[in-house]
Amino acid sequence: MVEYKPQYYPGGSNVSANRRKYIDPNYKLRKLRTISDDDLVRLMGHRVPGEAYKSVHPPLEELGEPACPIRELVEPTPGAKAGDRIRYIQFTDSVYFAPLTPYMRAWMGHMRYRGVDIGVLSGRVPLEARERDLEKVAKELVETEIFDPARVGIRGATVHGHALRLDENGLMFDALRRFQYDKNKGEVVYVKDQVGVPLDRPIYVGKPAPEEELRKITSQFRVDGEAFRNDKELIQFVQRIHMLRTEAGFDPNRVKEI
């Protein structure tokens, strides 16, 4: 059998290369900041730091699961083993050179993490998982290069902002003003959790990346950055997929030599 080498994403542009990089689980995301475990828990707002995980069923070991080949094949995540409830973190990614776009965020998550349920909308991406698994995943999502404090928002509800112009400090709009720009420190600070409940003390998440840096690491095509029009390989790839789907829908026998 021919050895299969994943290609992750087509295209000849830097944006395509960034997309390949983020989706590839072998690429280690650069860590840029440290957010304490307690602060992360407070940002998400599901439990009080130090509080035990709430469970929705007994630990699997005590549950006495039925004989099932799938259960034998799939190792449960720690959260599933413990019976944790399912909780979420949700991000909004600005169209203005945010590191990730919603689809990239979702595909990256599916390739890198187990036991996650990810949705994709035009601005926001909810990621749901067992609570202790979620906290581990969220840590990487917030501490690494894919989180820019100004162009990415942690938002459970009232998420609009991805397509709006930026404010005078270069921050994405947030109707609930969960985050603010601290001019003295030059850092972005969260004053509310992801659903807008005020925090008992602010949480600093670091300095926004310079515009040139964002343009280098973004997975967003833009005509004022790297234009999609110039990535002929990617356009032809999409056109071919569309043609194959269309022809196969009309008559599968017409599609040959894929």
């Binding site: 991805h162 005509v223 056109q239 789907r245 269309t246 829908g249 009309f250």
Partner: protein, 556 residues
């Protein structure tokens, strides 16, 4: 399209104080909902009502636990193709009488052929049918259709002042017969349509004669769509008894009822399956091609099929997205902003006219080339990239369509309409729409909401999947087509894709010539030749609908 010609710039300059190219602005300084004249009006009205009824009412300060709407500019909207600006609230169908009347005028229309009844009268009963008897019958039916008695001697009837919009007219493709019909009852194809279109329509309709029955708007408002053909059939049957001096209840009368309810009736919308639980003449059963034909813009500017398609799109947006998906299917306050993106601020207009100019230059005009992968790929890709680049060049445009589903609808509509124009083929057009969606998703790395993406990522496979080499089944799809039944923001453009294909070819109609002629009627309350202008009048509160109840309620 050159900078100075971009059609959306004027609206963007009116919506935001900064230049449309500016990437930064100020937020959180607009005093919330108080920046909006309409919201202030709502609050004032609600406070008065709450005081009277002693039950809490509308209070925008409850929004998000005290963080009100309006943390950014609550932007005005321009009705595309007009100079009318309004607030978003004015485009909710509950706040817009023109939108309501458009739907009522469609729903209350039933077409019933007269030939079966005439055959029964002549061949079974030996009665004479002449232009004189037809005119007499139409006079009787114009008395009866709004809700009056014609046979019984002790009957309650409807107040004419409440049902003044109810009447019957006829049309035929036979000029000689048309000449014999009293002008008051005739939709005259020769007068209502440009000569070339009239010739096409008359050839298709032939010597047959059809009644167009308009039931009262009040009936449309208080009963359901299934009522319409029943209401019409009852009054038609009774009028036949009266006009032709028949026995009430003789077997032939059953034939008139059968013809009016089944054999000769054309409902605007077909019965819905059980899971939708709707009868005929509800928005979910109206084929996309019927909507394209109900729109009468093609009579006004046949030389501009882009404008015609845009007018059709606006009607379909209101009916399918705002009424059907927005309320019938989803419940709640509706999907107004999903829909208005296709008919406000001249944005879709710009994308479609760009596509039209592109195909004119490259392919020598409309409907000049057969559908092929080369053409679909070329046109759909170019218009998609153009549209996406406009959002990126003009941050104010991106902010105007702040939801991805809005952008996806408008960009793909531009692509689909352009492919329809160049090929004259609506199935090619819809295929162009789906290519646009796939390109959009890869370009932006985002598209619409979950369901939006679901529909569009399997659309390539179903665009040619059913007998597409034998005709245009796409024209008969509607919002209840399985893959379309879940999702707002598409069907308006699908209607435009059909309109553009046939407009590009110079066709007088897209799907059904009878529907096209039935709405070529200046006595309808809604102006189907200029729907966007009409919606604008509704927004400005300058549109007078039918169905008012002042005659039977206390003065107010």
């Amino acid at each position: 399209m050159s900078e100075e010609k971009k059609m959306f710039l004027e609206a963007l300059r009116r919506k935001f104080k900064e230049s449309p190219e500016e990437k930064q602005t100020k937020f959180y300084i607009y005093d919330g909902w108080k920046q909006s004249k309409r919201k202030r009006e709502f609050v004032e009205a609600a406070q008065k009502v709450a005081k009277e009824r002693k039950v809490p009412f509308y209070n925008p300060d409850l929004h998000l636990g005290g963080i009100p709407l309006g943390q950014r500019v609550l932007m005005p909207y321009r009705l595309s193709g007009t100079d009318i600006y309004c607030e978003g609230d004015d485009l909710h169908f509950i706040n817009n009488a023109a939108m309501q009347q458009m739907w009522h005028d469609i729903r209350r229309t039933v077409i019933v052929g007269l030939d079966a009844a005439h055959t029964v009268l002549q061949k079974r009963l030996g009665k004479e049918v002449t232009p004189e008897t037809v005119n007499h019958y139409l006079e009787v039916l114009n008395h009866a259709l709004p809700g009056a008695a014609v046979v019984q001697e002790h009957m309650v009837e409807t107040h004419p002042g409440l049902v003044s919009d109810s009447y019957v007219k006829v049309f035929t493709g036979d000029d000689e017969l048309a000449d014999e019909i009293d002008d008051r009852f005739l939709i005259d194809i020769n007068k209502e349509f440009p000569a070339e279109q009239a010739a096409q329509l008359k050839a298709a309709i032939g010597k047959r004669i059809y009644q167009v029955c308009r039931m009262p708007t009040l009936v449309a408002m208080t009963c359901d769509g299934g009522t319409m053909s029943r209401w019409a059939a009852m009054q038609i049957s009774m009028s036949m008894i009266n006009a032709y001096k028949l026995m009430a209840g003789e077997a032939a009368v059953g034939e008139f009822a059968f013809a009016a309810k089944h054999a000769e009736v054309i409902e605007m919308g077909t019965l819905m399956p059980w899971r939708r639980a709707r009868g005929p003449n509800e928005p979910g059963g109206i084929p996309l091609g019927y909507m394209a034909d109900i729109c009468q813009a093609s009579r006004v500017k046949p030389e501009d099929p882009v404008w015609v398609a845009l007018e059709a799109i606006s009607m379909a947006a209101v009916l399918y997205d705002q009424f059907w998906f927005g309320s019938y299917m989803s419940g709640g306050v509706g999907f107004t902003q999903y829909a208005t993106c296709t008919y406000t601020d001249n944005i879709l207009d710009d994308f479609c006219y760009y596509g039209a100019e592109y195909v004119r230059k490259k392919y020598g005009g409309f409907a000049k080339v057969k559908p092929s992968w080369d053409v679909i790929n070329d046109v759909a890709t170019e218009v998609t990239l153009y549209g996406l680049e406009q959002y990126e060049r003009y941050p104010a445009l991106m902010e105007t369509h702040f939801g991805g589903s809005q952008r996806a609808a408008v960009v793909a509509a531009g692509a689909g309409v352009s492919v329809s124009l160049v090929t004259g083929h609506s199935t090619a057009g819809i295929n162009g729409w789906y290519l646009s969606q796939l390109l959009h998703k890869e370009e932006m790395g985002r598209l619409g909401f979950y369901g939006y993406d679901c529909q569009d990522q399997c659309g390539s496979a179903n665009s040619f999947s059913w007998r597409s080499d034998e005709g245009l089944p796409f024209n008969l799809r509607g919002v209840n087509y399985p893959n379309y039944a879940l999702n707002v923001g598409h069907q308006s453009a699908y209607c435009g894709i059909i309109s553009a294909a046939h407009g590009g070819r110079g066709d007088a109609w897209t799907t059904n010539p009878l529907i096209k002629v039935a709405f070529a009627d200046k006595d309808l309350k809604f102006d189907f030749t200029h729907p966007r202008l009409c919606f604008g009048k509704g927004a400005l509160r300058e549109f007078m609908p039918a169905g008012e109840r002042d005659l039977i309620i206390p003065s107010h």
